[in-house]
């Protein structure tokens, strides 16, 4: 967005009283957009098998609510069951303890998304209170990885538990994104619970720095480590959602203030590995020249499977081909 357009928008917002979203540039996604109604169709089609959603809204409810203008207009978002929402009303954390619990308040992240025009299509399956890595410990039963062909599983005589897990604890969210049942999903990451299921389901999973995204409304697990994470099919969609939810929140005292964010931004943009000045060798053929990539040797363990090792090697050689050290 050009500077003049941005300035005009800011001016309009001050007078007209509607929100602008700082930095909400339209990131171009490589995938076709999914509307709320399309998502709900996909849910009714695939959720009975995948068990990614603990609860979801109906198409009638979706059409009844007025759609809002905003950068995320008509985006279907799946929200993990440990994040408080008004609709669906139950925030169970996949536990008997909160099986019918309706929160009187909504999480700040959900409020921000709704104000940006998005709609929460459902609450996703998870490990109880975030304690697990395979979405196995849930009152709703396991969620399944969409990439496992159902028919093959039965012929091999695999039991349901042997079918590929989507990972956890945000397994339902990852499966929902991978199966096209939503455009983006919120999860929670305390010790890998967004990154792991995203990797297992082949989607993008992003864990922000503690304090970037408000935790007000996220049921606590390890309060000094908990974060709300974002999953989507590609980085552009994740970034669109991040821009909406990574804002200061006075209700969460550990959420970074706007002054702190500005200070960090100023500091980071002065760092040599970000500014162009220190990348003299960059060219068309070597667009990442000057960037040094570290690969931990300790990760190369005997238990690492061949496909995983291959994928790792391929990634490293691709980066080298692009000019990295």
């Amino acid at each position: 967005m050009s500077r003049s357009v941005r300035a005009l928008r800011l001016k309009l917002s001050r007078h007209a009283g509607f929100q602008t979203y700082a930095g909400s540039r339209q990131y171009r996604s490589t995938f076709a957009p999914i509307t709320v109604l399309e998502a709900l169709e996909a849910i009714s089609e695939r959720n009975p098998e995948l068990n990614a959603f603990a609860s979801h809204i109906t198409p009638a409810e979706a059409s009844a609510s007025e759609s809002r203008e905003g950068p995320l207009m008509d985006w279907p978002i799946a929200v993990k069951a440990n994040i408080a929402t008004a609709r669906p009303s139950v925030t169970s954390c996949a536990s008997h303890a909160l099986y019918t619990y309706t929160s009187p308040f909504q999480a700040t992240v959900v409020d921000s998304l709704e104000r940006a025009g998005a709609a929460v299509v459902g609450k996703t399956n998870m490990d109880e209170f975030g304690m697990g890595s395979k979405n196995k410990f849930s009152i709703y039963g396991s969620a399944l990885n969409p990439h496992t062909p159902a028919l093959v599983a039965r012929q091999d005589g695999m039991t349901e538990l042997d079918r590929h897990s989507p990972g956890g604890s945000s397994g339902g969210s990852a499966a929902a994104v991978a199966a096209g049942m939503c455009r983006a999903a919120l999860g929670s990451d305390t010790g890998g619970s967004v990154r792991l299921p995203a990797a297992w389901c082949g989607v993008v999973g992003f864990k922000p720095t503690f304090g970037r995204i408000s935790r007000h409304g996220l049921v606590a697990y390890g309060s000094s480590l908990d974060t709300v994470g974002i999953m989507a099919r590609d980085v552009a969609d994740v970034q669109s959602v991040f821009d909406i939810v990574a804002v200061p929140d006075p209700l969460d005292m550990t959420c970074m203030t706007s002054s702190l964010r500005a200070r960090i931004k100023a500091l980071a943009s002065s760092r040599p590995w970000i500014t162009q000045a220190h990348r003299p060798n960059r060219s068309e053929s070597a667009p990442l020249a000057g960037i040094r990539v570290g690969i931990p040797e300790e990760y190369w363990v005997n238990e690492l499977s061949e496909p995983a090792l291959e994928s790792w090697r391929a990634g490293a050689s691709r980066l080298a081909a692009l000019g990295c050290e």
Binding site: I83, A84, L98, S103, A107, V219, M253
Partner: protein
């Protein structure tokens, strides 16, 4: 061998309880037993809202009406620090001569009980907002000697909900209105040695905190709660060598005094008989006058203190502390010394006036350009007398400074007699809003300053009462009053006794 304490008890019955207290302190070289007393006070701050939520902190609202999400411990709720509570805590620290810490942090103290919805209390165990400080006790506070009691620390913490027992058998009713209300816990050093010192300490703390607006500090409604730690030691040993017991649930100053004395007696007796004192938590039974076991320390819970992850550290700047300091009212001691110097008043009179909110400023207004001693005398005797007769506080009274000033001026210029002035005062306090001059005119009073008329009256009286006249001449000065009274009656109070 209850030497000293039995001496105390017997001395209490004869004149000289103070004597025994002095004995305790002045004869340190011969002291069989001494007591080491420390206090922990929990003071409810007079903030409008709770410490970590926006719910109202009013204590007398219907049950469970002032509850925010975090007070009820709802999943996903988060605490928000209320800056007003920090200001009040800073005021308390400054008026106790302590240091407001530039950096303090919050901790979680975990224990499971129905009055603790979160399962933990947010407190400041390790990095409190205030350290150090002291309270000086002296003559003005009721001790014959001066004693400085040091403060160890002052920390912000949450109050628990109120548990109501006995309404439904087998149930504890919980009122969450109080859950999350801001408290400061003030921990004293174990500097106190007698029960009266402890009681005066609490009284002085109440007066200081009320004066600075930190808290209403009432033990009756629970805005001040007091726990006491008591240990005893033999005269020659270290003061801190004894095992201490904690006394809890002390609901009034009288209970505090009784509990300390009972506990000291108990410990002395145990140790005298060769037994050990076990570290315990005890309560006080006023009926038997003895402390009773409440909870043994061996079974005490592990609180699993951890830094509060939902709250960052609290940083306070020097400027902010200075702002608070400059907004503090003049403390009672400073007022006392200033007024005795500035106006030449007696400390007792100033102390009396200090006890009545608003009285000092009332006095200072009225004393401008007038004789301060006279003003003070009028306030402490006449006005206070009227107030107590009406069971009123000065702030509730209809008497204004202007009315009082007018009264004093009229008196000083001999326009009215003191009897008439007293009548005026009564009328002002009954609700008459007119100025002094108006009222005097309305009454049509005039001082009988015509000396010839007076002399005639005197001569007349002397003739009527020759015997009393003779007695007076013979030297019975008191007979003068008889004549004065007669003349006052005759002139209907319009003569001035001095003239007579």
């Amino acid at each position: 061998m209850r030497l000293l304490w039995s001496v105390r008890e017997s001395a209490r019955h004869c004149a000289g309880y103070k004597f025994t207290t002095n004995l305790l302190l002045h004869k340190r070289y011969y002291r069989p037993w001494g007591a080491t007393i420390g206090l922990e006070l929990h003071v409810q701050l007079a903030a409008a809202h709770k410490l970590f939520s926006a719910a109202s902190a009013k204590w007398d609202d219907p049950p469970n009406t002032n509850v925010d999400f975090v007070d009820a411990g709802l999943p996903g709720s988060m605490p928000r620090l209320n800056p007003e509570c920090v200001s009040l805590a800073a005021r308390a620290i400054l008026c106790l001569n302590g240091q407001v810490q530039p950096r303090s942090a919050f901790d979680r103290k975990h224990y499971f009980y129905s009055d603790q919805p979160l399962g933990y209390q947010i407190t400041q165990q390790r990095h409190p907002i205030g350290r150090g400080g002291f309270i000086e006790l002296g003559q003005a506070d009721g001790l014959d000697y001066t004693k400085r009691v040091r403060i160890h620390q002052l920390q912000l913490e949450q109050d628990t909900a109120k548990s109501i027992h006995g309404v439904y058998p087998g149930y504890i009713l919980t009122d969450l209105n109080r859950a999350g209300v801001a408290l400061v816990e003030i921990v004293s050093e174990p500097d106190m040695e007698t029960a009266p010192e402890a009681v005066h300490f609490v009284r002085k703390m109440q007066s200081l905190l009320r004066h600075t607006g930190v808290s209403s500090c009432n033990m009756e409604d629970g805005s001040l709660r007091c726990d006491v730690n008591v240990s005893v030691y033999r005269g020659s040993e270290d003061r801190l060598s004894g095992t201490r017991c904690e006394l809890k649930n002390l609901n009034s100053l009288k209970t505090i005094r009784g509990a300390i004395e009972a506990e000291v007696s108990r410990q002395v007796e145990l140790l005298s008989n060769g037994q050990r004192v076990k570290q315990e938590t005890r309560g006080y039974d006023a009926h038997s006058g003895k402390t009773v076991l409440a909870r043994s320390k061996e079974a005490a819970p592990d609180y699993r203190y951890m830094p509060e992850p939902d709250l960052p550290a609290l940083h306070i700047s020097e400027d902010w502390i200075e702002q608070i300091r400059s907004s503090l009212p003049e403390l009672p001691e400073a007022t006392l010394s200033r007024m005795t110097r500035q106006y030449g008043l007696l400390p007792e009179d100033v102390a009396t006036m200090l006890g009545e909110p608003g009285c000092i400023s009332f006095f200072e207004h009225a004393a401008r350009g007038r004789d301060p001693k006279r003003v003070a005398a009028w306030i402490t005797s006449e006005i206070f007398g009227q107030l107590s007769y009406r069971a009123q506080r000065l702030s509730d009274s209809t008497l204004t400074v202007q009315q009082f000033a007018g009264l004093l001026d009229a008196l000083a210029s001999n326009s009215i007699t003191s009897t008439q002035a007293k009548t005026l005062l009564i009328e002002f306090m009954d609700g008459d809003k007119r100025a002094a001059e108006e009222l005097i005119q309305a009454h049509g009073w005039k001082v009988m300053s015509d000396t010839r008329q007076l002399q005639n009256l005197v001569t007349q009286l002397l003739n009527e009462h020759p015997r009393e006249a003779a007695e007076y001449k013979a030297g019975h000065k008191r007979r003068l009053n008889f004549f004065v009274a007669k003349i006052m009656a005759a002139t209907k109070g319009q003569a001035r006794p001095q003239d007579v």
